[in-house]
Amino acid sequence: MILSTSLNSTSYSFIDKLKAVDYFLIIIVAIIGSMSVFSIYSTESGNFSFYTKNHLTRFLIFFFMFLVLSFVRVSFWYRQAYIFYILGILLLLLVIFFGISASGSKRWINFFVMNLQPSELMKIAIIVCFARYYHRIQSSDIQSYKYLLQPIILLLIPCYLVITQPDLGTAILIAGSGLAIIWLAGLNLKYFIYSGLILLVSLPFVISILKPYQKSRILTFFNPDRDPLGAGYQIIQSKIAIGSGGLLGKGFLQGTQSYLEFLPEKHTDFIFTLFSEEFGFVGSMVLILLYALLIYRIIRIGFSSRSFFAKLYCFGFASALFLYIFVNIAMVVGLLPIVGAPLPIMSYGGSSMLSIMLGLGIVMSCKIYSRDSIGN
């Protein structure tokens, strides 16, 4: 109630709000969510134990959170956008000092109920922050150096913090979603071309500062047989699993590659591999179609929103979501090097689930409060 009084005049009755909800989107999320629970169940060879229980609980809690957040007025996110960003940065800094290390990288903070991965939150924070940033800028000013430099700095800080964890995958995803919004906001094409060229030129330098394991992953990507039992193992086994799935797959709980533990990290980054092995080409296409529908619904909400903030957010989030999905699938089918990147909703992992549901919550609030035109 405090929110509504302090904001713009438009008022909504509860019925209006319920009517405005995009139920189709909720159903898609629920379907993908249940598919993910079955997939995790399959990684445990059909035992309803630790991972499945955890994953199901998290999905239910965060799905509920998504529904609740839908009713938070979109102007709240507008106003708190920078706070959200700063909070994300602070959490990332906290990781440096109080983080938990696992398999050579420090990414998590212990919050008792769960280990939070701030870099996952940062994925959403950067979108919200940039949506607000560009909301206010005149299209004619966007090309000026001031407004060019500011967002780049805003983007580089979290990227740097995440890379040093080290977590190249998430950093790429953050950078990718940030760039997508900058692109959507209307920054001249020439800047993208220039920076692309600069990146290309500086590539040797970038490679030289990469960690040895990151280098080996990239080299392995170009030739997985270079080290079939070491770095190339994951790609080879993943391709074998997917390929042997064939048109219709080996059937639910019948994936031998994952059941016999040839697949690495099958509940997190390689969940698509398991799904594809068991449900084949047809199953994979269905899943990809569901993701496409989800993205389509988000873009549709963006179009129907009155405020530029909401538009930019929805388009930005849709692009980011696409990027997460693409990077993950391209990675497991051997089109991209292995850089830790979870598949939204499907992969086991609380922080990733939290950030996606948070992102979707904001999308839904854009839908419900689509008539809001946020202050200038």
Binding site: Q138, L184, A185, K239, G243, E261, F262, G302, A330
Partner: protein
């Protein structure tokens, strides 16, 4: 207003930019889809194979060897239950520790442990190592008691080769041992059915018939996980046991022969003169083939290897000896066949004072006082050397060589069945020219006439020669493995038809003979020779007279032989030493050939005692005992023959 235009402008830009972005997304989605299509539809088969290769691992199970029996179905090579301990490497946490613990329980020797470590180097992490192949029951039960402390150790009940009549048949049956790289390369069957720990035949029938005996290994297919742990059995192609083999050997006669040869070096061979079945092939001294099954110890091996009487040599077919006087019936036959002499031809043997002389060289008879005027029958009966010097000279070595080869000398009796069998030497002028690149001397012909000089034969060849004389002069097919194609009745009728065949003059020229074809020109010549051999055994002054059987049914005919190891000098002749006074290595070899029963011959035999002295004293008496045994078992053998024929 300005702001509104700006916003409108911004909205237009964002829509346009979004359109580009969506187009890009669709493009990327297309790439991912086509990649999935490529992996799951186009290359499905390839990845399916890879997936199966990942998850399915094969374990081979060893086949059981076929059983070998004698003619009477007594098992002479068996499979015996053994207690073993295997170590499954994937379940072992600390290999050194496990071996140390095992060492205390089952008493492993240092060299055995060294071998285990060598084997471990070569194995894969999921292989199973055989730690000990043959545990005693005591060790095995102790092992079971401590099993909970030994991770990965598995007590296993397995089978291994066992020879119940150990020493008696080693030269016939042979023994088995671990397959070497060479064995695997040489025999396809071994390569195809190789399993770690597979035993293969090293010598004897075990080696010759390996291909039949080995059987086929089984395959157990297991689903395994990424760390190689067995998850479930998918399929099991059961192994098949190798073929069982029936040999032609008579275990009882073989055992008697080995018994008779005990503590001496020598050989005894017995053959069916029609079917060519080798009934006994004894060689002495022997050794225990069971010692080789699980790898022989260095001590045992050295003991066998360093024995001066050479147990490893199969004397029956790889020992070469001058035939001595046992060749005389053949020399006489050759001379009769070529018409060089007739039965009335006589030579005077006048003793050591008047030796046989040729170009200044002197040749003595073994009998100091001489035999007097000798006819062919008497010369064979009393084994007069002077007579055969003269006959050989008249005959010529080439004709002798031709007939000797025809009756089985100078070629392998069992063809290539045993790799160690030797051909021996039947000398001729051509042979000497080719091999020694020298011309033949007439003096060499003369001593060939009494089986000395270049001529070298194996005891089995002498046995075959006797068989082919005794059966009336027909070529037979010697064999060691029961073969239903070799049928006595068919052979007899074939011989009958051969007998009535008219022969051309060509029969005395060199040519190849088929099995059961007649080898002689005139049947009377053979009868004369066989009758002379009868005299040799059954009449007074015959060289084997003391070894005769008086009972009609055991009556046999034979010929003694004493083969010189070194040249006898005039001084030796002067001294006329007793056997005990001569150094072992210089003593003569004692030989005897015989066939029995005389009136209806069926079996031939040859006896050889290395450095045994004279044939009549050392070799012929053994034949007496053997022949009784062989003939006593004749009826039983014929009964088995009929039974086997009926089954077939």
């Amino acid at each position: 207003m300005i702001k509104k235009i700006g916003n409108l402008n911004k909205n237009k830009i964002i829509s346009r930019r979004l359109f580009v972005l969506v187009a890009a997304k669709i493009g990327l989605l297309g790439i991912v889809t086509s990649r999935l299509y490529n992996l799951q539809i186009s290359q499905k088969q390839k990845y399916e194979v890879l997936s199966d290769k990942n998850r399915i691992r094969e374990w081979k199970t060893p086949p059981q060897r076929g059983i070998i029996t004698d003619y009477f179905n007594n098992v002479i090579a068996d499979n015996q239950r053994v207690y073993q301990v295997h170590l499954s490497l994937e379940e072992v946490s600390n290999f050194n520790n496990s071996i140390f613990k095992l060492k205390n329980i089952i008493s492993l020797k240092e060299d055995e442990i060294k071998k285990i470590y060598e084997k471990k180097e070569k194995s894969k992490p999921w292989d199973t190592l055989i730690i000990s192949e043959n545990l005693s029951w005591k060790e095995f039960s102790k092992l079971n008691l401590y099993l909970h402390e030994l991770d990965g150790a598995k007590p296993v009940l397995s089978t291994s080769r066992y020879y119940p009549y150990s020493n008696d048949l080693v030269h016939v049956v042979g023994y088995v041992g671990d397959a070497t790289t060479q064995d695997i390369q040489n025999k396809k069957k071994i390569e195809e059915n190789f399993v770690p720990g597979l035993k293969v035949g090293k010598i004897g029938i075990e080696n010759s018939k390996d291909t039949d005996l080995i059987g086929n290994h089984g395959i157990k297919r297991y689903e395994v996980n990424a760390s190689g742990k067995k998850i479930s059995e998918i399929s099991y192609n059961k192994e098949t046991q190798g073929e069982n083999l029936r040999t032609t050997i008579d275990l009882e006669v073989q055992q008697l022969a080995q018994e008779l040869l005990k503590n001496q070096a020598g050989s005894i061979c017995v053959m069916d003169i029609y079917t060519g079945e080798v009934i006994t092939m004894a060689s002495s001294p022997t050794y225990d083939p069971n010692k080789f099954t699980h790898g022989i110890s260095t001590k045992d091996w050295n003991e066998i290897k360093n024995n001066k009487l050479r147990p490893l040599l199969n004397k029956s077919l790889a020992g070469l000896y001058s035939p001595g006087s046992t060749i005389k019936p053949l020399v006489a036959l050759a001379a009769l066949e070529y018409g060089i002499i007739d039965k009335k031809f006589k030579v005077n043997c006048k003793g050591h004072d008047h030796p046989y002389e040729l170009y200044g060289e002197r040749y003595h008879c073994w009998k100091k006082n001489g035999h007097g005027l000798m006819s062919m029958r008497n010369a064979i009966k009393q084994s007069c050397d002077i007579y055969f010097y003269e006959v050989a000279r008249l005959l010529g070595v080439d004709k002798l060589s031709l007939i000797a080869k025809r009756y089985g000398l100078g070629s392998k009796v069992l063809e290539d069945f045993f790799s160690e069998e030797k051909k021996g030497i039947v000398p001729s002028t051509k042979w000497k020219k080719q091999v020694l690149e020298q011309s033949w001397y007439l003096g060499e012909t003369v001593i060939t006439g009494i089986g000395q000089g270049y001529i070298q034969t194996t005891p089995l060849q002498l046995c075959l020669m006797t068989a082919q004389l005794a059966n009336g002069g027909y070529k037979i097919k010697p064999n060691l493995i029961y073969d239903k194609e070799i049928d006595l009745d068919k052979i007899k009728s074939k011989i009958k038809s051969e007998k009535n065949k008219s022969v051309s003059q060509n029969i005395l020229k060199d040519h190849e003979f088929k099995h059961y074809e007649r080898l002689y020109r005139n049947p009377n010549n053979l009868k004369l020779v066989l009758d002379a051999m009868y005299g040799s055994t059954n009449e007074q002054f015959g060289t084997s007279f003391r070894s005769r059987h008086k009972e009609d049914k055991y009556k046999f005919a034979g010929k003694t032989g004493t083969s010189q190891v070194k040249r006898i000098t005039d001084q030796d002749r002067e001294l006329d030493l007793d056997l005990d006074e001569i150094e072992y290595k210089s003593r003569d070899h004692a030989l005897f050939i015989a066939f029995a029963p005389y009136d209806k011959p069926r079996y031939s035999l040859s006896v050889l005692i290395e450095h045994g002295g004279s044939g009549s004293k050392a070799a012929a008496p053994l034949a007496n005992k053997l022949i009784k045994k062989i003939l006593d078992r004749h009826e039983l053998r014929e009964k088995i023959r009929k039974d086997l024929k009926n089954i077939a």
